[in-house]
Symmetry: C2
Subunit: 229 residues, 2 copies
């Protein structure tokens, strides 16, 4: 046990700073975030500190701290004296967010072409190929998750922490909606075609092209999701 802890220490010392052990705070934040994304808590739901705390097995204090955190992330809204409510996003909110996301991903693509290593690009290609497999099998959930992974990977390859950070915030707000927005066959095919172009542009390190595709991809995403809101 001591040796294991030491190993962890050394590992982490090499990689970055002191150990970040999982805390109750993080766990609650992650759990509530998931509950929102997966639809267990629908927009407009009032979050009852007593009940929710009992449900999660924590007292109100750390729960409230986690809720404040999620308010800052934009997933919850706070009415003074009336507690936290799952935020309701209007169609315009979603559209606005997608425009910004498109722009951010466009920038990320441009930077990724510049900063990504060949090995890293090969990893994205692998994700892409696995995603295409899932498309062939029409296996939606794994497809969806791999799709998200690819977008996240491109962000990561931009090697721009600030960009990753703001992208994550916006992405989290929309995850629920994109999760719902399961498009029909023809639109799905369109999204897949976009992804083919994406990986080609990335491998060619064609920054302008990749940026253009990513921004356009997000506009098409709006068309796919808009009628579902």
């Amino acid at each position: 046990m001591a040796s294991e802890a030491t190993a962890l220490l050394i590992d982490d010392f090499d990689s970055r700073g002191p150990i970040a052990r999982p805390t109750l705070h993080d766990a609650i934040v992650a759990r509530v975030r998931d509950m929102i994304i997966e639809g267990e808590l629908t927009p407009g739901t009032r979050l009852h500190e007593g009940n929710l705390g009992k449900m999660l097995g924590v007292s109100r204090t750390p729960l409230r701290e986690a809720l404040k955190f999620l308010v800052s992330e934009g997933l919850l809204e706070l009415s003074p004296g009336r507690g936290a409510v799952v935020r309701q996003f209007s169609a315009k909110d979603v559209h606005d967010s997608l425009i910004v996301l498109g722009n951010l991903e466009g920038l990320a693509g441009r930077l990724a072409c510049e900063h990504a290593s060949d090995a890293e690009i090969r990893e994205v290609r692998q994700l892409h190929d696995r995603m295409m497999d899932m498309y062939e099998r029409r296996d939606r959930l794994p497809y969806f998750k791999l799709n998200q992974s690819i977008h996240s990977a491109i962000l990561r390859l931009s090697k721009n922490e600030a960009l990753v950070s703001v992208h994550n915030v916006l992405q989290a707000r929309l995850k629920r909606i994109r999760y719902i927005g399961n498009e029909g066959p023809e639109k799905w095919a369109g999204a897949v075609a976009d992804h083919e172009e994406m990986i080609d542009a990335l491998e060619a390190r064609d920054a302008d092209q990749l940026s253009k595709i990513l921004t356009a991809h997000m506009e098409k995403t709006w068309e796919r999701v808009s009628n579902a809101i």
Copy 2:
């Protein structure tokens, strides 16, 4: 008193949702944020819940909630068991953030040309003229504040809430640094020249041009601040 409350209710009912009275939480968040921006709390400083609470006249509970909020905003970092620390931004962090900000402002400019009313553009022109007055007098602090106002105004004129939101987060992180980064006469003149082009492009509703200026403006900002970090 009842009539006043009712009037407020009606007012707010028309505009958006229930009243948002100032809360202790918001006050603490704002206060600590200011303390960071104004340099009272320097990067690396460990925030002592006991002392800070006494200083602000609040108990640890609401203070901790406010700190969690600021952690989510990226102004503080949290070491489990060791409390909150004012986040230290590396030169790369600042550079990365400025690149993203440049991109966001570029998008905002594009959208503002599309969505802003003539009256709104005139208001920006007024801000600009007042800022130029302050430049003539070499009055740095009002100049700085008007400068910020103009950028914020362009963001607002994009009529894109999501864009405003993510911009604010990044802006808050850098405010301290830009506050320090008081450039010399020649660089200051350069920034002013940029602003002249900006307002011209906005009045001409030349989206491409405004977008280009704003993005480039942020790159120059980096050159102005980089040696101060």
